[in-house]
C-alpha cells in the first residue's frame, strides 16, 4: 500500500431539539434524565469514540408567536451535564456548544478550564455565534449583536479566553508545605485585554488545565465562519456529509489554513451524520423510509416551509404542491430561534430553488421537506455503512463523523456493536484509547508542546 490509511474520528451527538429525533418511537426515552446521558456516554466510550457532543439553544423555538411543539422541546445545561458525565466516564471527550454572544469570557474560560480539570483533560468547546434579539431577550445585556459583529465578538471572545487560559503556565503551583510556598509566583493568572469587544484585566483564578486549553470546535457555514475556523479552530462541526459536498468543503476549508500559518492536520472536518442501520441493505432502506415519514409529518412539513415563506401556510395541503405565492421578504418574524432562519439569504431565491427541486422530482410539500431535511447520511447493513464511512474519510470528504441517532438514548447501541468492529478490522479505527485526553484522541498537539 502506498499511502497509509487515514484513521477515522467518531463522535456521538446526543439527539435533541430537531426533527431528526423521533420522539414518538416506543424506544425513545427521556432527553433530560441523567440516566439517558449516562447510557449514551457509556455506549460511546465502550465503542472508543473520540467524544460526546452537546448542542445548545438558549430560547425555546417559536413559530407564529407560539412555542414550537412538534419536536423535542427543552434541554439541560451543557456544562452541568458534561461535568456530571466526567464522573461516570474515563476517556470519552466532552464537547459542549457554548455561545459567544450571550456570555462573557472570564466566566466561560473558567467553566471550560474547570471542566478540563474535572475530566482530567477531556473538554472541548464548540464556539457558536447565534446573535439574534429573540434569544437576547433572555439575557442581561438584553440587546444583541448586529449580524456583522457576531464573528468579531466570537473572535475576540476566543482570543480573550485563550489569554485567560494562558495566564497560568502550569508550573505555578508548588504546594510545598515545608517551605510554605503554595505559589511559585505572586502574579499567577495576571491578564489584561483591551479590545473593541472586551476591555478586561485582572487575575484569572483557575490554574492551567491538563489540556492547556480546551479543544476548539466551530460550527457555522458562512464565509466568515469558515475563515474563523481556519484561523482558530481545532475541528469543524459541518453539515456537508456527502462525497461531493464534503470534498468541496474539505478542500475549501483546509485550503484556507496555510494563510493562517497552519497545516491541514491541525483542523479536523467532522460533519454531522445520521444513519439507518439494519441487517441488510434492503431492510435498512425500508427502515430509513419509515424514519423519514416519522420525522416529517404533514404538519412538520408545512411548518418547515414557513421558515422560508415567512407566512402562515397552514391552509395548504402537505400532500399537495408547493405554495404558488412568494415568500414575505424582510425581517423574519414567523419562525424564531432556529438557525435556518438566521441565514438571511433572499427567501424568494430559496423558494425558487425549492420549487424547481419539487417540480423536477415531482414532490409534494411533505415529500420535498423529507427530501431536504430527513436524509440519513448512512443507510445499509453494518458492512455497507462501515465501507461508506471509510470511503468518505479516505477520499477526503471528512476526517470522521459526529453521529446523531434518531432515538435517544439507545440509538447508538447497534452502531457501536456492529459498525465499529468492522472499522477496527479494517485498521481505520482504534481498538483501544491510546491516550486519555481529547487532544490525544484527535491527534492534536498540546498547546505547550
Amino acid at each position: 500500500m502506498s499511502t497509509p490509511l487515514k484513521q477515522i474520528h467518531l463522535a456521538a451527538h446526543f439527539p435533541g431539539v430537531n426533527n431528526t429525533t423521533v420522539w414518538s418511537d416506543p424506544d425513545s426515552g427521556s432527553h433530560i434524565d441523567f440516566d439517558s446521558f449516562v447510557h449514551f456516554a457509556e455506549t460511546a466510550e465502550r465503542a472508543k469514540f473520540d467524544f460526546l457532543f452537546l448542542a445548545e439553544g438558549l430560547r425555546l423555538r417559536e413559530q407564529a408567536g407560539e412555542i414550537y411543539d412538534l419536536d423535542v422541546v427543552g434541554r439541560p445545561d451543557t456544562f452541568t451535564v458534561l461535568a456530571a458525565l466526567a464522573g461516570v466516564t474515563t476517556h470519552v471527550g466532552l464537547t459542549g456548544t457554548i455561545n459567544s454572544t450571550f456570555n462573557e469570557p472570564y466566566e466561560v474560560a473558567r467553566q471550560f478550564a474547570s471542566l478540563d480539570h474535572l475530566s482530567a483533560g477531556r473538554a472541548a468547546w464548540n464556539v457558536v455565534t447565534s446573535w439574534d434579539a429573540f434569544t437576547g431577550e433572555n439575557f442581561r445585556r438584553g440587546g444583541f449583536l448586529p449580524r456583522e459583529q457576531r464573528y468579531a465578538r466570537a473572535k475576540e471572545f476566543l482570543a480573550t479566553a485563550h489569554e485567560l487560559f494562558d495566564s497560568w503556565h502550569g508550573d505555578e503551583i508548588a504546594a510545598d508545605p515545608d517551605s510554605g510556598t503554595f505559589l511559585r509566583t505572586a502574579r499567577a493568572g495576571a491578564f489584561a485585554h483591551h479590545g473593541e469587544q472586551f476591555d478586561i484585566q485582572g487575575r484569572f483564578n483557575v490554574p492551567r488545565s491538563p489540556q492547556g486549553r480546551p479543544v476548539i470546535f466551530q460550527a457555522g457555514d458562512s464565509e466568515e465562519g469558515r475563515e474563523f475556523a481556519a484561523a482558530e479552530a481545532d475541528a469543524i462541526f459541518s453539515r456537508h456529509d456527502t462525497l461531493e459536498a464534503g470534498q468541496a468543503f474539505y478542500r475549501d476549508v483546509k485550503g484556507r489554513l496555510a494563510r493562517h500559518g497552519r497545516t491541514p492536520d491541525q483542523l479536523l472536518i467532522l460533519p454531522a451524520a445520521t444513519f439507518a442501520l439494519a441487517d441488510t441493505d434492503a431492510e435498512a432502506r425500508e427502515l430509513a423510509h419509515g424514519i423519514r415519514l416519522k420525522q416529517v409529518s404533514g404538519q412538520t412539513a408545512l411548518r418547515h416551509l414557513e421558515h422560508v415563506w415567512n407566512t402562515d401556510l397552514s391552509g395548504y395541503d402537505p400532500e399537495g404542491p408547493l405554495p404558488d405565492i412568494d415568500p414575505v421578504p424582510g425581517e423574519h418574524t414567523l419562525a424564531q430561534g432556529r438557525s435556518t432562519t438566521r441565514h438571511h439569504r433572499d427567501p424568494r431565491e430559496i423558494a425558487r430553488e425549492l420549487r424547481e427541486r419539487a417540480e423536477a422530482k415531482n414532490l409534494s410539500i411533505r415529500e420535498l421537506v423529507i427530501d431536504i431535511t430527513a436524509r440519513q447520511t448512512f443507510i445499509g447493513s453494518a458492512e455497507t455503512i462501515a465501507a461508506t464511512i471509510n470511503d468518505l474519510v479516505q477520499r477526503d470528504a471528512a476526517d470522521g463523523f459526529i453521529l446523531a441517532p434518531h432515538v435517544s438514548p439507545g440509538g447508538l447501541d447497534t452502531f457501536a456493536a456492529q459498525v465499529v468492529p468492522l472499522l477496527q478490522e479494517r485498521g481505520v479505527f482504534r481498538d483501544e484509547y491510546e491516550g486519555t485526553t481529547l487532544r490525544e484522541h484527535l491527534g492534536l498537539a498540546h498547546p505547550d508542546a
Binding site: 420522539w23 412538534l70 422541546v73 439575557f139 438584553g142 508545605p177 510554605g180 493568572g189 478586561i200 483564578n205
Partner: protein, 401 residues
Amino acid sequence: MSDTPPLHLAVALDGAGWHPAAWREQGARPGELFTARYWVDLVREAEAGLLDFATFEDALSLQSSRLEGPDDRTDQVRGRLDAVLTAARVAPLTRHLGLVPTAVVTHTEPFHLSKAIATLDHVSKGRAGVRVRISARPQEYGHFGRRTLAPLTLGELQSPEGQSIVSALFDEAADHVEVLRRLWDSWEDDAEIRDAATGRFVDRDKLHYIDFEGPHFAVKGPSITPRPPQGQPLVTSLAHQTIPYRLVARSADVGYVTPRSAEDARAIVEEIRTERAAAGRADEPLHVFGDLVVLVDEEEGRAAERLAALDALAGEPCASDAEIFAGTPAALADLLTDWQAAGLTGFRLRPAVLGHDLRGITRGLVPELQRRGAFRTAYTATTLRGHLGLDAHPANRYATA
C-alpha cells in the same frame, strides 16, 4: 427522644479548609485541590456522616486577603474550580448528600444559572441548591468590564455611601433569585406530553413566559430546561448584617449567619424572622443556620493545640467572619444544642482543615449528636428539600389547575 426538632448539619467545602495554613497540615493533599478525586473523597466523607448538604465556595476572582484587589501572596491557597461544575462532577458519585454550589449573581446571567442549577437537580435526582453571593470586589468588576466599582476599603463599605452600594447589589441579587425561581416554575411538571395523536411533544399551555423586568435586567423565559425534580432547588445565602438578612428573609430557604454567642444568635434569628414577616413570607419555612469554623479532636486540648500550630504557620491568628471553635466533639455538640435552643435550626460547619476536621465532624460530632438523639441515624429522604423537612415538591406558581 426530646421534642426539639432534629438538628441540621451542612459542611462548607473550600480549598484545603478554612484556616489559611490548612494546606500545610498533614493529610491536606494541597497538590490535589484541582483534581476531581479530591472533591469526590470529601463529599463521600460528608455523605458517610449523613450530613444534609455540602456547600462549595466560589468567587470570580483569585482569593485575596484584601477587599480592594489581589494580595499577591504565595503562602496561601490560590485558584479554585467553578463550584457548579465541581458539584455536578461529584453528583453521580453520591446518592443522598445535598449539593449547594456558590454562584456570584452580580456578574452572571440568571438564565444561565437557573438552567445550571435545574440541571444539577436533574443529575443529582433532587439534591441541588445554590448559595447566591454578591460581588463587592472591584477586581471582579474588572474581570467583566461591563460596569465599574471604585476600589473600596472595608471602612468605606460600612459608610452610608458604601451601604447604599451594598444595598443596590442585594436588591439586584433578590431580582436574580426571583428570576431563578420563576424560571424553575416556567415549565409545569407535566408539560411534556408526547402526544403522538396530535404530534405535540409538549403542551405549550404548560410552558410560561416569566416576563421579568427589573432595573438591571429583563428576562423573557421560559427556561430551556424542564422543571427540576425538586421543583424549587434550595436557595441559600450568607448574611452578616441587616441588608443581607433582608435578602435571606425575602429570597432564601436557608440563611447562614455568624453569631458569636447564643444571645447573638437569638437576636439575629429574631431580626430575620421580622424581615421575613415584612416580606409577607412569615408562613413559609426558613432555616437559619449558624456558621462556625471548627477544629475537632477527641483528645481534650488537641484542637486548640492544632489551632495554635496553624496560626504559627500562618504567622498570625486566624481571623474569620464566623466564630472559631476548637475542642472536642462533645463540647461542639454542647455548643450546637445551646445555639439551637436560641433559634438556629442547623449549622454549616467550616472545617479548618478539610483533611482532618471533616472527619472530626462525621466521625466525632455526628456520633456524639446521635447518642444524644439530636441527629439522624440514617437518611430518611432522598432529596435535599426532604432532608430539611421542606415541602418536597412546592406548588408551581404558574399552574392553574
